[in-house]
Amino acid sequence: MNKKTKFNLLYSMIRMRMVEERISSEYSNQQMRCPVHLSVGQEAISSGICLNLKDKDQVFSAHRSHFHYLAKGGNLKQMISELFGKETGCAGGKGGSMHLIDIKAGLIAAVPIVGSTIPIGVGLAWANKLNRSNKVVVIFFGEGATEEGVFYESINFAALHNLPILFVCENNYYSVYSNIKNRQPTNRKISNVSKSMGVESYRMNGNKVEEIFTKTQKMIHSIRKNNKPILIELSTYRVLEHCGPNNDDHLNYRNKKELKRWLNNCPIEKYKEHLLKQKVLSNEELKKVYQKIDKEISQSFDFAKKSKFPKKDKLFKYIYAD
């Protein structure tokens, strides 16, 4: 892997982390009045995968959508404006954090009903195949979505029609406060279920960005070449609360040892040390990275704050296209 790719992977993760840290710190000003599902701790997955995608490839997300949006090249100013409910938002303020969209960048949709974008992504991949467009669709979802019936219906269809899709299951072990142990049998792996349904499936460490990049590069190439779906299950951990800007570990729903182990397994810190040691970048360059991103984020927040709320006439606009 070349130095530039390594740098880009780190840059992407640091940028994501800093964006969400700013959202977290500004949330209490009560200007971003929509539910936010922050993904801090899960930076490696979307960074590692999306760097392998072409502009024309298409991504679907769910409620925890910020990183997928950013990784696919979604516009930051429009994202922050959307959280502020402004007319300059990526959905004109009609969607909020749970409905990020940037069609130009290929982030087709994010919705908060768990599992609901999975069949829609499958349908678009079906259209792509019939149109011979050679696009790859990546569908991100959590392990909770694999408890929805529509997941199985979609996997079945993707296997039946050999559709060019990378299914990405980010297993962070919690659905709101409920541990996966209370929701799925412990001796059964999600990737084994999809494999038995006819979709090539793998398990991976979700906090190792280089490994994710390298492995999914081959997978995406194979999906594009062979028109066959692949599913990957990546273990990871969300650091903050399910919904909202804060840490909620005072509620004691997560095992302290488990929490400590994952916090020590931060995808960014480890990789940063590694790249400094490998001299991919210097401390000085790293400092500049932080400064550059900080400036970009500040500009985006300023843009959002200065932007206007949509006017009355927008209320009934776009209910129908005809």
Binding site: G123, L124, N156, F157
Partner: protein
């Protein structure tokens, strides 16, 4: 009783009209695709998908797995990839498995992405009735869909309207729920060979009259028309308004008619309570031109799940004689001998004597 049409042009039935709309739409636009469980099976969705597979092949006509929920999602995704899917369920009830995809996704997609991507899909839902269909194969749930902004809901009552409205629905840029009553499939009307559109959102005066306004849709328009024939025997000239589209509701022709007749009876194709009749009556009575002397009433399906046995199921549905009885109350007139004189007009548990099941 089928309205007699001069045999100047050809008569075809509702199922054939649906089939023709599909064939012609698919010929005209190669992005139109048809999908659903059984669309290419030997029965071809009561004949409505005849020849599609033979003419357009496996890349345009798709038999689907029994995955009602995901199928709507697949159709939405296909529409994002520039296709125009026509999805079909053999009974309305199967769509209940996919209400998330219809209400949360399809209906809101264009709005929640601020007009960047629309969802041009058609979902055909067939309403069952009679021959023991029972509680889960006979529901008219148009109101469930008509209550949702972002959806369009149509429910044509004749072969002529069915063809023109299905063509319009397929050409439409929004998700359209297309209701077909199973009993309408075998009804005939004069249908032109050519490709033509009947606009969504326009009701029709099915029969002109001056004494009372009957508003109905779908199969109940057939019963309302029969009722208007019976009423002639009592020197009552009824006007029949066929809604054709349930969302958006075309209320002005109803207002105009009611202002003329001063009497309104809404015949609901579904349950009487909380349904289309509630909406029509509210729209009429809250309209700025509403005359307080106007008498308003309604009939619809009895407030119970519909049982399988014909002895009980027949008690659920109003027919032309029940409609006349309700009109006699509105007009405060006694229609002597109504029940006995017109007992042959009463609905049975089959659409016609040729229907021998099974569904």
């Amino acid at each position: 009783m089928q309205t007699k049409i001069k045999n100047k042009n050809r008569n075809i039935n509702y199922a054939e009209a649906i089939n023709e709309a599909l064939l012609q739409s698919m010929k005209l636009d190669k992005k139109v695709v048809v999908m659903g469980l059984g669309v290419d099976d030997p029965k071809r969705i009561f004949g409505t998908t005849n020849n599609l597979f033979e003419v357009f092949g496996k890349d345009r006509v798709f038999d689907m797995p029994t995955s009602e929920n995901a199928i709507t999602g697949f159709a939405i995704g296909m529409s994002l990839g520039k296709f125009k899917p026509v999805l079909c369920h053999q009974r309305v009830e199967f769509a209940l498995l996919t209400m998330d995809q219809i209400i949360n996704q399809a209906a809101k997609w264009f709005y929640m992405n601020n007009g960047q991507m629309n969802v041009p899909i058609v979902i055909r839902l067939i309403i069952g009735r009679g021959w023991g269909q029972g509680p889960q194969h006979s529901q008219s749930l148009e109101n469930l869909f008509a209550g949702i902004p972002g959806l369009k809901v149509v429910s044509p009552s004749s072969a002529y309207d069915a063809k023109g409205m299905l063509i319009s629905s397929i050409a439409d840029k929004d998700p359209v729920i297309f209701f077909e009553h199973r009993w309408l499939h075998s009804t005939y009307s004069q249908v032109p060979n050519k490709f033509y559109k009947i606009p969504i959102g326009k009701s029709k005066i099915a029969k002109k009259g001056k004494d009372v306004t009957i508003v109905s849709s779908s199969y109940m328009t057939i019963e309302s028309m029969k009722a208007s024939e019976i009423l002639k025997n009592y020197y009552i000239d009824a006007e029949v308004v066929d809604l054709r589209t349930l969302r958006p509701l075309d209320v002005n022709p109803i207002i105009k008619s009611v202002n003329k007749t001063k009497k309104l009876l809404v015949v609901d194709n579904g349950w009487t309570q909380y349904g289309i009749s509630s909406e029509v009556i509210t729209k009429v009575t809250t309209h700025k031109n509403f005359d307080k002397n106007i008498i308003v009433s309604r009939v619809g399906i009895a407030d119970t799940p519909i049982p399988s046995t014909r002895s009980l199921a027949k008690l659920c549905y109003p027919d032309c004689v029940d409609i006349c009885m309700q009109i006699s109350k509105i007009l405060n007139k006694n229609f002597s001998g109504l029940s006995s004189r017109f007992k042959n007009y009463r609905a049975s548990d089959t659409p016609n004597k040729y229907f021998t099941g099974p569904f």
